[in-house]
C-alpha cells in the first residue's frame, strides 16, 4: 500500500477507536482566519504556520492545529458534556529543520465537561495510552495549574503577578522577571536614572505616534510604585524553583509537591487535583508508579495549556517530535467563548509516526 494511504488507514483506525470511546466526529476547514490565531498566539505563530491571503478575506492560515476551530465550534453550538474526534492534515513551517514534516496527519480526542476534571484528564491520557499500546514510547506529564497557583499565591503586587502569569509559557523571560522581582538582577542604569529624575520629561523629544504622554506617565507611575515595593521573599522564590525542579515518578512528585504545599498553601488545591488525577489514572489501569512528572513540563511549546499536560515520545529517538501530546485548556475556552467558558481537555496522535515506529521505517 502506498505510504500516504497507509497513514490514512492508520488515522481511520485511530479515529474509530476514539469514536468507540464515545466521541462525535467533526470536521474543520483547512483555511482558518489568521486574525484569531494571531490574537491567541501572537506573532510567533507566523514562524510555525503558513499564512496565505486573498483580496477579499485577507489573511488566512493553513490549519496549524484542530483545537482552536473545534473549541470555536463547540462554544457556538455544542451540547454539554461533549466528546469530539477529528482527523486530518495540519501544516507547520519547518524552516530550521528540513527533516521535520511540514504537513502531517493528526487524530484528536477532546472532552468538554464541567464535572470531575481529573476524571476527564485521566480518560484522555488512558485513551491515548491504549491507542499507542505496544509502541516503544515513554510518557511525560506535568501540570501548569500548579505553577499558575504558585504565582497567584505569591505575596506581591497584582501587577507583578500579572507579569509573571503572562510569561509562564516563556521560561526565559519568566526567570528574568523572578530575578528582577527578587532583587537578584541589577536594575538597569537607565531605569535608575528615570526613577531618580525630578522631571522625566525635561528633555523629552517631540511626541510622535499613538502611544501618548498619558500612557508614558502611567507607566512611570507604575515603575515608581514597583520600585517602592520590597523584593519577593527568598523563601517564596526557593519554593517556586523547587516546583519547577520536580522531576520524578508521579507518586514521588506528588509527595514532593505535597511537602512544598505545606509551606506554600496556595498550591494545595492544585496539588490535591494532581492527587485525584493520579488516582483516576490508576483506576483506569495506567501504571502511575512508572509515569514521569516534570514541574516545568509543557511550558515551552504548548502555549494554551493551563493544567494537566502530557506527551508520548519515541524512546531512543529524541530527534522525533512527540507521537502524541495534549492537555487541559480551560482558559482557551474562556478566550474564545465571549463570556462563556467550559473546562476542556484533549490530545492528538500522529498516525504517520505511529506507523513508522511500527514498521521501523523512521
Amino acid at each position: 500500500m502506498p505510504e500516504g494511504l497507509a497513514k490514512r488507514a492508520e488515522a481511520a483506525r485511530v479515529r474509530a477507536m476514539f469514536e468507540a470511546a464515545g466521541a462525535l466526529p467533526v470536521e474543520t476547514s483547512v483555511l482558518q482566519p489568521a486574525e484569531l490565531l494571531l490574537d491567541l498566539y501572537g506573532e510567533d505563530i507566523r514562524a510555525r504556520a503558513y499564512v496565505t491571503s486573498d483580496a477579499l478575506r485577507g489573511e488566512q492560515m493553513l490549519r496549524p492545529d484542530f483545537t482552536v476551530p473545534v473549541v470555536q465550534m463547540h462554544m457556538q453550538h455544542g451540547a454539554e458534556p461533549a466528546r469530539y474526534t477529528y482527523s486530518g492534515e495540519v501544516f507547520r513551517r519547518q524552516e530550521d529543520d528540513a527533516s521535520r514534516a511540514n504537513e502531517y496527519l493528526q487524530v484528536g480526542y477532546e472532552i468538554f465537561e464541567r464535572d470531575a476534571p481529573h476524571e476527564a484528564d485521566a480518560e484522555v491520557f488512558a485513551l491515548m495510552s491504549s491507542v499507542l499500546r505496544g509502541l516503544p514510547l515513554r510518557a511525560a506529564t506535568g501540570d501548569i495549574g500548579i505553577l499558575m497557583a504558585a504565582v497567584e499565591g505569591l505575596r506581591t503586587t497584582a501587577r507583578r503577578k500579572a507579569a509573571l502569569r503572562r510569561h509562564i509559557w516563556r521560561p526565559k523571560r519568566f526567570r528574568a522577571l523572578i530575578d528582577r522581582f527578587s532583587g537578584r538582577s541589577e536594575v538597569p542604569a537607565s531605569r535608575l536614572a528615570l526613577l531618580a529624575a525630578a522631571d522625566p520629561f525635561a528633555q523629552a523629544a517631540p511626541e510622535i505616534g499613538l502611544r501618548g504622554r498619558r500612557e508614558i506617565e502611567a507607566r512611570i507611575a507604575a515603575l515608581r510604585e514597583d520600585a517602592a515595593e520590597g523584593p519577593l521573599g527568598a523563601g517564596e522564590v526557593a519554593l517556586m524553583e523547587a516546583i519547577l525542579a520536580v522531576q520524578e515518578t508521579l507518586p514521588n512528585a506528588l509527595e514532593q509537591l505535597s511537602d512544598i504545599a505545606v509551606d506554600m498553601p496556595a498550591i494545595a488545591k492544585a496539588v490535591e487535583g494532581l492527587r485525584r488525577r493520579t488516582g483516576a489514572l490508576a483506576a483506569r489501569g495506567v501504571d502511575v508508579a512508572q509515569l514521569a512528572f516534570e514541574g516545568s513540563y509543557g511550558r515551552a511549546s504548548m502555549e494554551y495549556y493551563d493544567g494537566f499536560v502530557f506527551g508520548f515520545y519515541a524512546e531512543a529517538r529524541a530527534d522525533l517530535p512527540p507521537v502524541a501530546s495534549g492537555g487541559r485548556y480551560d482558559a482557551l475556552t474562556r478566550q474564545l467563548g465571549q463570556g462563556t467558558e467550559i473546562p476542556a481537555v484533549g490530545g492528538v496522535v500522529r498516525p504517520g509516526l505511529m506507523l513508522g515506529l511500527k514498521e521501523g521505517s523512521l
Binding site: E95, L194, A204, I216, A218, I220
Partner: protein, 230 residues
C-alpha cells in the same frame, strides 16, 4: 554552466564591489550602456558576471543558479532558512556596514530595553485593543530575535521603505530597520534600544553550497579564489 558571480546591479554596493575585485586584479564592468544589466569580466577566464538586485542574490545562491554572490549578511539571514547549510561566507568585503536594530520614539522616556518594550506592549494592547506594531522588512530576523528574548504582544507590519516615518504616520509604534550612522533615526525622533541590536551586517562574498559544478567550473572557481587570496 560556466562559473557565475552575482553582484548587486546598482548604486554604491555595485561600485564598491567592482573596486574590491579590481584591487585583486579582476575587473568587473557593465557591458554596453548603464541601463543594460549584462556584465563583463576581465583579468580572469571562465567567470561570468550576473548583475542582480542584492535582495535576489540569496535566493539565486540557494537555488544554485549562481556559484558566488555578493550581498549583505542581513539579506542572507533574512531570506535563507538554515543559511549556514546553503551558503558559505568567504570574505567580508569591508563596506556596506549596517546594523539591524529596534528603535522606539525618543519621547518614550520610560523605554530603554527589550524588557521595557515587552511591558509597554502588554499595556499598549490593553489600552488600544491591538498589539503594538513594529514596522520592518526583516520579518524573520526580528521575530526570531524577539521570541528568543521573550517579547510578546507585538505585531510586525511590513514596511519596504521609509520605515523611520511609520511612527510619525501612526502606522507603527516602533521600527526594526537597518542603520549605519543613526542619522535618519534621530531625524525622525527615534532612539535605538540599548539591547536592540539584532544583527551586524556587511557586504560579504558568499559561495553556494550543494551546487552541481562541471570540472571546468570547479577549476575556474579554484583559480578565481586563488586570485582573490581566498
Amino acid at each position: 554552466m560556466s562559473l557565475k558571480l552575482g553582484v548587486p546591479s546598482k548604486g554604491r554596493l555595485m561600485e564598491k564591489t567592482f573596486e574590491w575585485f579590481a584591487a585583486r586584479g579582476v575587473t568587473l564592468s557593465r557591458a554596453g550602456s548603464a541601463r543594460e544589466y549584462a556584465g563583463k569580466v576581465e583579468g580572469i577566464e571562465g567567470v561570468e558576471l550576473v548583475l542582480l538586485s542584492a535582495g535576489e542574490i540569496p535566493r539565486e545562491l540557494a537555488a544554485g543558479r549562481i556559484h558566488l554572490g555578493v550581498t549583505g549578511t542581513d539579506l542572507i539571514r533574512e531570506k535563507l532558512g538554515q543559511w549556514e547549510q546553503r551558503v558559505e561566507a568567504l570574505a567580508e568585503l569591508g563596506f556596506g556596514h549596517a546594523d539591524l536594530i529596534i528603535a522606539v520614539p525618543q519621547a518614550w522616556v520610560d523605554v530603554d530595553t527589550l524588557d521595557d518594550l515587552d511591558a509597554v506592549a502588554a499595556a499598549f494592547r490593553a489600552e488600544h485593543g491591538f498589539r503594538l506594531r513594529i514596522a520592518t522588512k526583516y520579518h524573520r530576523l526580528v521575530r526570531e530575535y524577539l521570541r528568543e528574548c521573550g517579547v510578546a504582544d507585538y505585531q510586525l507590519v511590513d514596511s519596504q521603505g521609509a520605515t523611520e516615518g511609520t511612527v510619525k504616520n501612526e502606522t507603527a509604534e516602533a521600527v526594526a530597520d537597518i542603520t549605519s550612522t543613526g542619522d535618519t533615526l534621530r531625524a525622525n525622533h527615534l532612539k535605538i534600544l540599548s539591547d536592540g541590536l539584532i544583527l551586524r551586517s556587511s557586504a560579504t562574498l558568499y559561495r553556494a553550497r550543494n551546487v552541481e559544478m562541471s570540472p571546468q567550473a570547479r577549476s575556474d572557481m579554484t583559480r578565481l579564489l586563488a586570485q582573490l587570496d581566498l
